[in-house]
Subunit: 162 residues, 4 copies
């Protein structure tokens, strides 16, 4: 499958640590999530970063953009924290990769009851295969162009800018 | 959202009955699955049928096709049993609806550990929004044209005919 | 820990098979359930049988009773199908083991949403450690003497005989 | 059933808030957990406190002890944070209630994959019904007298003092 999944952390991949009682990062949940889809061919998975997107600096965003460039695939899903997904999308868009790049994430971690993570991963993997080249954010069962989306923090949803 | 979800039953929606110890049908799990996506607008949900697709006859398939025609939306996801999804897709395709109609299902019921149902629903909802008019089956993170797909029953996966 | 867990199958341990679409038996879920308890010492686990209790014959019940006798532990939990747990309890009681033996099971398989299996396992493991020698059935947050219990099949609950 | 469940918060009852991205307190999960046990009679449930046990002061512990006194039941389970369960147990023990009072909790919140909460609740509910009057902590499939237990914070387990 001409598709690559790049993990960068974010709520999607946060895991509970019973020793310190906090949500943090350990091994990514994404391989387990992908296994549920029972794909005919293995999809490439790159565990690039494991961080809260509020802690990202420009260097991290460039690192993600570089990973998009060096991936042999034309279609890319990036699992990212929702708080700064737009900033990363902008850095990627400015690099003009001529690929279809879809950022997604989750409002509730994969391993917590009622999580949207698995839904969003499925949604983003279809979007990345079907959309023309460009940079998009896929959340809340919707595809947004990277330059026409904002996170409504009160509602916990992504919406168009206007 | 210009999208309608039609439930017809199938493994996706099978639920355990503690009294008789069997998997069967009760209220559809789809509204709960959709709530996890935290959509900006409610999506239309039609609980049309609740049956094993091996028990479907032509009248059921015509009923599903008619529901596609009468839905005001242009984009439709049908949650269907995997065993005869192709037959239903054929009946729908012959009706030439000029809509984008995506059938999906699950290999493991939504409420059982490790289910692919939520992933498939997300995947199909993106596919239904992005594909041109036509009839498709979306399973295993892949979009198949309705006339080029078969279920490999040994592997529990959908694949191209050839 | 002076405690042994004996698996015999039953609803507790039924697992969904995505290929044939039915609930059946595979590796027991009990080791995974026990790991969640984060015990200080490993508990002995014996995977004796994996069957529906409606399919049990006297030889199976004697096999279970013999496993109780040969276990080095004084306290035993048997995970069993709910439909004939009383019959097995009677066979064990007639063997007069001078041990504390608690049968439990589940109305919903461990791996299905809303299962009572983990609750029942915890309940039975406390009961087996605290009750005097004898044979008991522990279900529905209650301890029943083996000769004063019946399964109310309409309600899906165990209750006293009278 | 001559049994009362008192909620005070703790990890057992922590819930994820998708808006602020943190674990906190909302409606208790305990009624949903109890429903899974399919009890013959409803058990009394008291939602007394909803707090991290590290934030408890003496007044909270006295409030819990008073709730034990005023409960009409002889057998009581207290769901409590694990970090200061011993201190609360001591305050309760000093009040000399002549009841069987069992404190339990969880290392992983009820609504997170792999949680011990449901197991611990079942274990504590059996212990509270079967132990003589006294104050106990039930964790890790073990019953500890209140004055011979400590939480090993590195291992995330309760153990005897020595």
């Amino acid at each position: 499958m001409n598709l690559c999944i790049i993990a960068t952390g974010g709520t999607f991949d946060k895991r509970y640590d019973p020793i310190n009682g906090e949500l943090g990062f350990a091994d990514s949940v994404i391989p387990a999530a992908l296994a549920r889809a029972r794909m005919n061919a293995e999809v490439d998975f790159v565990a690039l970063l494991a961080m809260d997107s509020l802690d990202m600096h420009d260097q991290h965003r460039r690192q993600i953009s570089d990973a998009c460039a060096s991936a042999p695939q034309q279609h890319i899903v990036i699992v990212h924290g929702t708080d700064t997904a737009q900033q990363t999308a902008q850095v990627i868009a400015q690099a003009a990769h001529q690929k279809t790049i879809v950022l997604t994430g989750a409002m509730v971690p994969y391993e917590i009851d009622g999580s949207d993570a698995l839904f969003n991963l499925g949604f983003a993997m279809a979007a990345a295969q079907l959309l023309p080249a460009g940079v998009y954010i896929a959340m809340n069962a919707q595809v947004f162009p990277w330059d026409d989306v904002r996170k409504n923090r009160q509602a916990g949803r992504f919406e168009r800018n206007r």
